[in-house]
Amino acid sequence: MALLSSATGLRISAICFALMLLCGALAVAASVGETAIPVQTVMDTIANHVWHAGRDVDPIDAGIVWNYRLSRAVVAASCGAALALSGVVLQALLRNALADPYLLGISAGASTGAVSVAILGLGAGMLGLSLGAFIGSVLAFAFVTLLSLQAGRGTGAIILAGIAGAQLFNAMTAFIVTKSASAEEARGIMFWLLGNLSGVRWPDVWLALPMALIGLVVCLWHARALDAFTFGQESAASLGVPVRRVYILLIGVSALMTAVMVSIVGSIGFVGLVIPHAVRFFVGTRHGMLLPLSGLIGALFLVGADVLSRVIIPGQVLPIGVITALIGAPAFALILCHGRVLR
């Protein structure tokens, strides 16, 4: 009653706060870089582009902000949100704390697809690296799905099929790289696998952002169904949840989100596994709250990690996957220890 409405109020204000923080982070991300550009210029540039405000901005600054940094920051945010959401969904449905978006073989398939295009020259120049990665990840996901259906139902079968699929596709990637790639190519692929936002432009935004938003809406729509899986599949079924439909829809959406993100930026680790756990420590396991906040925190985390990857070593961009793990792992360790004290 009073307790409930205050909880709802708290929930809405927490989400609003995170949303504001994300907007701030995007502005900062657009201003920080090799040439620092004042936040005011960033704001003016956005105003000019969004509602033709006609503010006076240096065209070179405006170009850097709009064409390079802002698009990159928005993709980072979409990607962080999508990976965190996939993590939440897979951990809830598979009842496994170690489930992450790459569990279903998607990143392994993406890397195989990418090297097939980049090194073997598959598609004869018709396919880009991203499209190759996307096709690879979809194929790997299809393989894992078929395998898990053959292996019988149950969450264990899906996890084992995912491991088998990931190993197989990783082996194919390694095979192609060692057999055909030059040292230079191998390094490039390695860099791409660890996550790379540098080539990102607005067309990528129009792919990543809608995908993340659609994913968020679909997941939120099923927040109560995800809650109902607390005590497992059978219990969810006895609470009136159409288990099979929810499985197909939500795992499908998670896989699609992950495949799209991986094909744009490579496989950035850690976000999808750890952000859901970290957010759970603070807001509990009910998905009405967990989903939007995980999405927002995931977005914030990746925008921040991208900024760091650009500034931490002057003149050099680190793979963002390195930053997410370097910062994320100790931060998560802190939360883990702190969480145990709280309990």
């Binding site: 169904a225 109902a228 219990s235 079924a237 006895s238 609470l239 009136g240």
Partner: protein, 266 residues
Amino acid sequence: MTLELRDVGWNAGFKKIISDVSLRVEPGEFLGLIGPNGSGKTSLMSVLAGIRAPSRGQALLDGQAMKKVGRRNLARRIGFVEQQADTIDRITVREAVALGRTPYLSLLSPWSEDDQAIVQKALEAVEMHLMADRMWQTLSGGEKQRVHIARTLAQQPDFLLLDEPTNHLDIHHQLGLLDLVRTLPVTVVAALHDLNHAAMFCDRIAMMDRGKLIAIGTPEQILTSQNLRDVFGVAADIERDDQGRCHIRYQVGISGQTGIKKDRVA
């Protein structure tokens, strides 16, 4: 208010787990389901709960095929407590019970004060209201089982289905739980391991053996020395108290008796 199975069979893959079960649950009764390990009790319970669709025959709620009734409507009529459902999630007792409102909630009818009151009532019914804010992981086995029952009560069902609800509980909690269930204003179907519990609490008992329902009737009719020897492979004397209740006294070490069951299995 009827729950009925007609010639129901259920397969796991190609293996027949239960076959030819016809059963009608009468309103208001406490129906016990007994049978040796692997006799199909759990499968029968989940068909009865509408979680598994029968491979053959029909499962009916109020004379209508469960498939047509729909999952959400089924969940509003039938509450099901599985054997030992556990979770790694950090949730409170109240949150666990609130899950029972799932079949009533949607985007158009979100969580309301009514739901809150129903959850509170369910917690009080199982006497867990003072522990409502405890974390699930801190509960004992008996407390967890009572929370599960409260969760199904929050579904406001007409039928409460329990699959071996007293497993792993000490004797005090076993009796307390069954006594609690008996006093609830719902029709109960419970798979029970302890035959004396079945004798004490059930209005009727259904006995399963190797996937078939072989007998159904009052405890006096079902719990006979003959049945216990044929189905469970144990020797036992049945005693009756002044109120006509039966009580089973098992015997061990009588040669030939336990051998019967072994032969049948082989």
